[in-house]
Amino acid sequence: METEGSNIVVSRRKLMLEDWKHTLYLWRQNKLAMIGTVIIVFFIAIAVFAPLIAPYDPVKVDLSQALLSPSFEHIFGTDQFGRDIFSRVIYGARIEVGIILLVTVISGAIGIAVGITAGYFGGVIDEILMRITDIFLAFPNLILAMALSAMLGRGVFNAIIAISLVGWTVIARLSRAEAMKIKSLPYIEAIRALGAGNLRILLLHILPMCMSPVLVQLSLRMGSIILTAAGLGFLGLGAQPPTPEWGAIVSDGRSYLVDQWWISTFPGLFIALVVLGFNLLGDGIRDIMDPRIRR
């Protein structure tokens, strides 16, 4: 038995390797996805190692250093409080990562739960859940997010919860369509024939199949989430000072745009870069996951 056991491990590893090799191959073929991955990895690395990378305290006010243009000491310059923009941007990456995680978890969870339940059961349940989804879809998103963030209290994370409470609709529709497609496939019927209950089918068999399109969708939405958060900041509803949230930095620096361009421009570029990264990656994953290409 023991040797068999190890055999199993070997073959299993080999198989995962195969799968990975395929994915890796497709990924390497897809240059943009590669660039996207590099950007995102870079971004996450920044967030993780922020204290090591950032040369200064991101929130420390030092008025004697205010509004310095980019130089060797402050490569992105400083803002009106003498805070090092580079350090703020680096620490800001942590906030953005937090935003992304929260939204993914919340809107992903709600969206999938609603979507697959509606898609799998169909009928009245579907009708009710989809009408609820319609309500949230028809609701002006920014307004709902604003209202919710006013309701929940201030702060980036509350704003993000608000955004996710709004953003699940897309995921719900997507996973509903996916669940509907999958539930009529023969293998689900075969599992039902084995005597599996609805819950088992839903959680063990349909849910995993809905994950990858949902993940693609989520990765594509990351960008718009960061931007919505930044937009809330522009309207004064986002991050609380002195949180170095990128959108807030851009929007605070806008009155300096003509002369102290660096305050807005660097965080702006970072937002654009990361959003671009997520979009490229999302597009890439979609291509890679595409069964017609994968086969």
Binding site: K21, H22, Y25, L26, Q29
Partner: protein, 325 residues
């Protein structure tokens, strides 16, 4: 009879992550005018790829790496895309595909799609082409007034295949390639379509390449049969002959696998499965599944040679030296 098509040493590869799939490995096909050739073989053996190669419709990651496709004396592989469009595709050669409903464009009416083919083949305007559509539809037994105005999704499988046939034959091609034209249809409809095709081809004096995995169809419809295996042509012969006295062990195995009504024989099947074309076995590609396999089969790829009049086979069992040895 005049030689219409001569394909020799055709090699096609698909570049994929797993490596290069050697889909066709020196395929040889030939066809005279008005002749009907059947290509049979298991799934994945390269039937469709051969057909698409003749039309030069192999897309990346596929690539025709070698060979000659001489049609009416011209090598199609040396032609430019424009020349292919201008003088071959939809003019001298036309094609019918397996899934008739999905092979028609869902957003255009049937009439339009047929007219388009006619317009291109005769170099006439669409308006003029429209005038010829009823004729083609009637030819395949459809009520033209009604069917012209239908969208493909409103057709049943049988009707759609009739439309495809009308479209393919409206251009009066020298060669009609039919890639599994009836596999998606029901038995009774399949019989109808084959009968129709038979009549029309006889009338139009078209040469036909019929691709199928159903040997029964091939034997009833075709004059000559080519058996393919894993990218190679392994046997070519008159259609009666192949069934009555197959030579290649693979052909034999195939024929022994077919259940026949009333013939209470034991179905044997062929052990093993089709090789992976990324790393096909060396030598004869069939040797791992072959019960008569000997050393030479493992190293040397057999040529297609004429062992009886008009009966070609690629197997070392029938090569001269093996007889000696």
């Amino acid at each position: 009879m005049k030689r219409l098509l001569d394909v020799s040493d055709l090699r096609v590869m698909f570049h994929t992550y797993r490596g290069t799939i050697k889909a066709l490995n020196g395929v040889r096909l030939w066809l005279n005018e008005e002749e009907r050739l059947g290509i049979v073989g298991e799934t994945g053996c390269g039937k469709s790829v051969s057909a698409l190669s003749i039309m030069r419709l192999i897309d990346p990651p596929g690539e025709i790496t070698d060979g000659e496709i001489v049609f009416e004396g011209l090598d199609l592989l040396k032609m430019s895309e424009e020349e292919m469009d201008k003088s071959v595709r939809g003019k001298k050669i036309s094609m019918i595909f397996q899934e008739p409903v999905s092979a028609l464009n869902p957003v255009f009416k049937v009439g339009f799609q047929i007219a388009e083919a006619i317009a291109h083949s005769n170099d006439i305007s669409m308006d003029e082409a429209y005038k010829k559509v009823p004729e083609s539809l009637e030819m395949v037994g459809l009520d033209w007034k009604r069917s012209m105005e239908l969208y493909p999704h409103e057709l049943s499988g049988g009707m759609a295949q009739r439309v495809m046939i009308a479209m393919a034959l409206a251009v009066k091609p020298k060669l009609l390639i039919a890639d599994e034209p009836t596999s998606a249809l029901d038995v009774t409809i399949q019989a109808q379509i084959l009968q129709l095709l038979d009549e029309l081809v006889r009338m139009g004096k078209n040469a036909v390449i019929l691709i199928t995995h159903d040997l029964g169809i091939a034997s009833e419809f075709c004059d000559r049969i080519t058996v393919m295996y894993a990218g190679n042509v392994i046997e070519v012969s008159d259609s009666q002959e192949v069934f009555q006295s197959p030579l290649h062990p693979y052909s034999k195995g195939l024929i022994n696998s077919i259940p026949i009504i009333g013939a209470s024989k034991v179905l044997r099947g062929i052990p093993g499965s089709v090789p992976d074309l990324v790393s096909p076995p060396p030598g004869c590609r069939f040797h791992p599944r072959c019960e008569f396999c000997f050393d030479r089969c493992r190293v040397e790829l057999p040529d297609l040679r004429e062992v009886k009049p008009d009966h070609f086979v690629a197997c070392h069992l029938y090569s001269d030296d093996s007889k000696e040895g």
